[in-house]
């Protein structure tokens, strides 16, 4: 794998330098996505709503990586797709370069999607098995009416960029390993020279030894192409490595946002503290002495989320106020936003005492 990153194809400046009429490249405000649950009968009345994403606000600047972590079903992937309008948001706003996307339709939206692309989790399911790799990547140009005579050459360049060779273009997806397929998925996303990549668990389906290679590739591409990443993952060590800022989600809400060091060294939301304490590390000695906060029970159903703070049912610090009043994100300095009535001030001491208390209640 040796992408000739210096020998880039000449990137056509499709868009001129942006006038600074917007604050962030991508701004998401109060994004809500609800999925209807329909009843059995003929009429299929809506009997409930899954609140997959509720009032999420975040922003992404050019060239930065925002890591989004949380347990399965917490809405992190749905947020990514709602940003791209692959799921139409129920309410809220998504602006890209100051333009509102939620009200956009048809051709306008397609034009915006040239600048925002997605890489899917499963490289086995996201590539059409009947198409050779060249066609898979060329499809992006064809859809956007950008296919020209030298198109095939550009496809070759892209393959080289992601560490494959142009000769691989005539092969079919099944001839590649998981890591190579994910590189093809990345090449396809890069074809239209986007500014933002939504990476939906891009390395989760890959073996450990191959993951690192794909992470390196993503970092190299970011350095050379100035991409912004919305990086969804549940592997905390990879998120720590790749992200500049991190958002922690729980049951459809962002509970804590901050710089990487804020989140990993000074976590303030009890859920973040518990999550970090539970993630195993490949080090027997530190595993042996580590204090784990064992959260009791499971994540509540998003059909009927708890009142007030959504984490309160599993939180060891929960009090009455948590049930009656929803905590709003409060800035604890430098954009370290925490949505908690009783934020943790000393994570190490908190972990030790909470771990003890859980052990005590179990005995």
């Amino acid at each position: 794998m040796s992408p000739d990153l210096d020998k880039q194809p000449d990137r056509q400046p499709i868009k001129a330098d942006p006038p600074p009429d917007y604050e962030h490249l991508l701004q998401v405000t109060d994004l809500v996505k609800e999925f209807p649950v329909k009843g059995g009968g003929v009429i299929r009345r809506v009997v409930g709503k899954v609140q997959a994403v509720s009032s999420v606000s975040l922003h992404l600047d050019a060239g930065e990586t925002l890591g989004v972590v949380g347990e399965s079903g917490c809405g992190k992937s749905t947020t990514g797709r709602a940003i791209l309008q692959l799921h139409k948001p129920t309410s809220g706003s998504v602006t890209f370069r100051g333009k509102e996307l939620t009200t956009m339709r048809g051709e306008d939206l397609r034009a915006v999607r040239r600048d925002m692309q997605i890489v899917f989790q499963d490289p086995y399911a996201s590539l059409n098995p009947k198409m050779p790799v060249n066609d898979i990547i060329a499809e992006a140009y064809k859809i956007h009416g950008l296919w020209s005579k030298d198109g095939l050459e550009r496809v070759g360049e892209l393959l080289r960029l992601v560490g494959l060779s142009p000769e691989h273009g005539n092969r079919y997806p099944h001839e590649f390993s998981g890591g190579q397929r994910q590189r093809i998925g990345i090449a396809r996303a890069l074809a239209l020279e986007p500014d933002v990549l939504i990476l939906d668990e891009p390395v989760s389906a890959l073996d450990v030894s191959v993951q690192a290679g794909v992470v390196n590739l993503l970092e190299d591409l970011q350095d050379t192409l100035g991409l912004a990443y919305f990086f969804v993952a549940h592997d905390l060590s990879i998120v720590r490595h790749i992200s500049d800022r991190i958002a922690v989600m729980y049951l459809g809400k962002i509970v804590e946002t901050g710089s990487r060091d804020d989140i990993y060294d000074r976590p303030m939301h009890p859920y973040t503290v518990a999550l970090l304490s539970a993630a195993p590390e490949a080090d027997p000695n530190s595993e042996r002495v580590r204090e784990r906060i064992m959260l009791t029970g499971d994540v509540p159903s998003p059909l009927n989320p708890p009142s007030g703070c959504r984490f309160r049912t599993r939180c060891w610090k929960a009090q009455e106020k948590c049930a009656s009043e929803e905590p709003l994100p409060v800035d604890h300095g430098d954009g370290h936003l925490v949505a908690c009535h009783f934020p943790v001030t000393d994570p190490a001491a908190e972990t030790a005492s909470a771990a003890l208390r859980v052990a005590g209640s179990a005995a």
Partner: protein, 391 residues
Amino acid sequence: MTIPPITPPNETPGGSLYGPARNEAPELYEVYEPSIGAEVETPTAEHLGAVGATEVLKVENLTVGFPTDDGLVRAVRGVSYTLHEREVLGIVGESGSGKSVSSMAVMGLLPKSARITGSITFRGQDVLSMSKAHQRSLRGRKIAMIFQDPMTAMNPVYSIGAQLAEAVLSHEMMPKKAALARAEEMLALVGIPQPKERLNSYPHEFSGGMRQRAMIAMAVINNPDVIIADEPTTALDVTVQAQILEKLIEVKDAFNAAIILITHDLGVVAGMTHRTLVMYAGRPVELGATDTVFYHPRMPYTAGLLGSIPKAGDVGRLRPITGAPPSLINLPTGCPFSPRCPLATDVCRETEPGLAPTDAEDHLAACHHWDQLAAAPDATAFFRAESEARR
């Protein structure tokens, strides 16, 4: 890179088309043969409990092949290990390394087409040569299994209670009421609230973590000696994973069972196992106390795996192992890891190393150059240098 046509290393005369005949030790490997009741170095893992001296399970030179239209897929090629009472053995490896297939062979769950050689001894009885009925009496009773995905491992149309009771009734004659009482007891043991009411629930009414708890309850309901846990927490979230692993260790101590923990998550292995077996391309490549394997790897693959995980404070590039695991139909000659190994020399490309003792008697590795890893202060540095050179 061209892969030369190969002759399988264990194609000894007298064997069938698909490998050597049973009980014929292939000459090319050194077979790991610990004496019965051998002293096991217990690592300082207090929370896992002490390991007993009695051997419960012994796997010797196990090979498994699946004939396909493209040729024989040699999924497992000579796995040997012993498991003692109350011991937790971790088996790590990438997908396709043979870790699940070798345990399925122990359970007797492989399809008829599988060609199995070698021996599997459970408390002195040879599992492979015993009758089907005898095998069935062990399976689920003495050797139990916890599967990765509890949703597909359970029958969606039977209640949890009925499925747990069935596990008891298929091995023991007892009134159904008594079996249900036992099921209730087990659900309580694994920490499911209101176990009596929950007996009537169906799998879909349980959350992922609760389903996996119910799987554990089903596995231990007959008081097994060996529990094989195949990726028990891969489908679960981090906070739930911690609960389940803790429960697994608790249950092990309650029943004096030994556990084989199959996973690809090195973090899980680090905290949960006494000994670790690393597999690559169907072969065991390293076996030793978990601490020794993690802190003093003697096989470059193990070192590469450990080095490719980002650590706290790690800035800059990660250190992946280049390339991909080989095809099990068309293995390279010599060491299967040699095409990806920064230490590979000609001898690696010609002869496949056997699992042999390294600096410690109980730390085995299959590498011609383990002494180079021993001499290096940081074994993962070999991969780092390579990764940086490629930049």
